[in-house]
């Protein structure tokens, strides 16, 4: 299972990328999309919404289950990926390019507390 080394991760199978402008981009991992099966619906937060780390921020639904996607850090939603909302199956096709939403973190250092690729890999190994 692919776990890019340049990303951070959460235990709930989100990937997080710190961008040059200080925002973070969030999606779900390849492990998550495989577990869910064919994804048929994605519900994204409203731009401008304020979230706290651990809040439900988005929902990804497969035929099998609805899966809550959590904000990995606190902040404000600055962008959502409308293309993925229109084509939910793109998350299955390439989980690491089908980003869901971007946050401006309230604490830039908060991302350091997330899992690195090795730690996430141990998490999903079974």
């Amino acid at each position: 299972m692919n776990i890019p080394a340049d990303l951070k991760y959460t235990e709930s199978h989100e990937w997080v990328r710190l961008e040059a402008d200080g925002t973070v981009t969030i999606g779900i991992t390849e492990y998550a999309q495989d577990a869910l099966g064919d994804i048929v619906f994605v519900e994204l937060p409203k731009v401008g919404k304020s979230v706290t780390a651990g809040d439900d921020a988005a929902v990804v639904e497969s035929v099998k289950a609805a899966s809550d996607i959590y904000a990995p850090v606190s902040g404000i939603v600055v962008a959502v990926n409308d293309a993925v909302a229109a084509a939910p199956e793109s998350v299955n096709a390439d989980a690491y390019s089908a980003w869901l939403f971007k946050l401006k973190p309230s604490d830039p250092a908060a991302i350091d507390g997330l899992l690195d690729a090795a730690a996430y890999g141990k998490n999903t190994a079974d």
């Binding site: 064919d38 619906f41 035929v63 609805a66």
Partner: protein, 372 residues
């Protein structure tokens, strides 16, 4: 607890199946994409391992009389050898013990096919009724032990043609089979194979019952003919589009069949008494069972979501999914009697109230979408 395995367990793993615990059975939920498997069945040919279901043979001079009392549908509709009937078996409260298909082979030989998760319960009931009525029939399950049968459902517009390619010599006998009829083709290279023109997908096709030792060989032969393996995920989206009930979800032994859209399978016209009739007639129908199509975007319709009609009376979704053929969320729902086909109702999904349209079932048949 070890999961039970069908004779095709290794074949599923070899085909790349994602295996899950399905009611205590180790079964394939998909082989990569349940949506692709669904489309393969609607457009071409797919096959399902249904060997976890249970064939039960009822034999003896009183077989017909026994089934006349046991089943809610009228066994006397079966007068031609090979003809099949879909029926419920009711408990004394008039609720559904199981739904099944019964095949008539001769006056002294009938065959039932019952659901996997209910087989044990069904056999206890059937044996108890056999004793209570003194019918003296022989009840033989053919899922475990000597004489065990494997079951493969081959479904889709090209299913039957691919089965003839594989079952040499069977084409003549089977091509003539009308829907809801079966024939046993003796002495094929896979043993005696029962070919039934039945299915759970809304497409044409057949269900094959044959000696379990031949399971891998027949599965491989069908693969060679281009039939695609299809798992339980696709099985559920197909049957839901086809408006077909799933026992344990759309009805169970606390549900009256009239409330589950099964009035057409209950013979209340003839004088015939059958187990559960009195209680059923006393209860009558309290709910409609209809289809829903989600009109607003907002998620997938799922079991137990509340449905509210214009008058404020509420019902409940019993089965929901996202329809690959229609590209919409669809559901089967138990609804109040005052809701009409064509109405817009409200479904509670998470914190939202979304609009859905009430439709008559089925949504899809023979590859065609029948509903708006």
């Amino acid at each position: 607890m070890t999961l039970k395995a069908t004779p095709l367990n290794s074949a599923h793993r070899a085909a790349g199946a994602k295996m899950v615990d399905f009611g205590g059975w180790d079964m394939p939920v998909n082989y990569g994409s349940q949506i692709e498997e669904h489309h393969a069945v609607r457009r071409d040919a797919g096959m399902f391992d249904v060997s976890h279901m249970c064939v039960v043979d009822i034999e003896g001079v009183h077989a017909r009389a026994f089934l006349r009392a046991l089943l809610a549908n009228n066994i006397d509709k079966l007068q031609v050898a090979g003809k099949a009937l879909y029926s419920c078996m009711l408990n004394l409260s008039g609720c559904v013990i199981d739904d099944l298909i019964v095949y008539f082979f001769s006056e002294e030989r009938f065959r039932l096919v019952v659901n996997a998760g209910t087989a044990e319960k069904d056999l206890v009931w059937i044996n108890a009724q056999n004793a209570a009525t003194g019918s003296g029939v022989t009840v033989t399950q053919r899922r475990d032990g000597i004489g065990a049968m494997a079951l493969i459902a081959v479904q889709g517009p090209n299913a039957r043609a691919k089965v003839w390619q594989v079952l040499a010599g069977a084409q003549a006998a089977c091509e003539a089979l009308k829907p809801f009829n079966a024939v046993v083709v003796p002495g094929t290279v896979f043993g005696d194979v029962m070919v039934a023109r039945t299915g759970y997908t809304g497409e044409d096709g057949v269900e094959l019952a044959f000696p379990a030792q031949q399971a891998e060989a027949l599965w491989s032969a069908l693969l060679g003919a281009g039939v695609k393996p299809a798992g339980l995920g696709a099985r559920d989206t197909l049957r839901l589009e086809a408006g077909m009930n799933l026992y344990g979800q759309d009805m169970d032994d606390s549900v009256n069949p009239l409330d589950a859209g099964l009035a057409w399978t209950i013979d209340l016209v003839s004088e015939r008494d059958f187990l559960g009739k009195a209680a059923l007639v006393a209860m009558g129908q309290r709910y409609q069972f209809l289809g829903l199509i989600l009109a607003d975007k907002g998620g997938v319709l799922r079991a137990h979501q509340k449905v509210i009609g214009a008058s404020g009376a509420s019902g409940e979704i019993t089965s929901g999914t996202f329809s690959p053929t229609m590209q919409k969320a669809i559901a089967l729902a138990r609804l109040p009697m005052d809701v009409a086909v064509g109405d817009t109702v409200t479904v509670e999904i998470r914190d939202k109230r979304l609009a859905a349209t009430v439709v008559k079932l089925p949504f899809v048949r023979n590859g065609k979408i029948l509903v708006a």
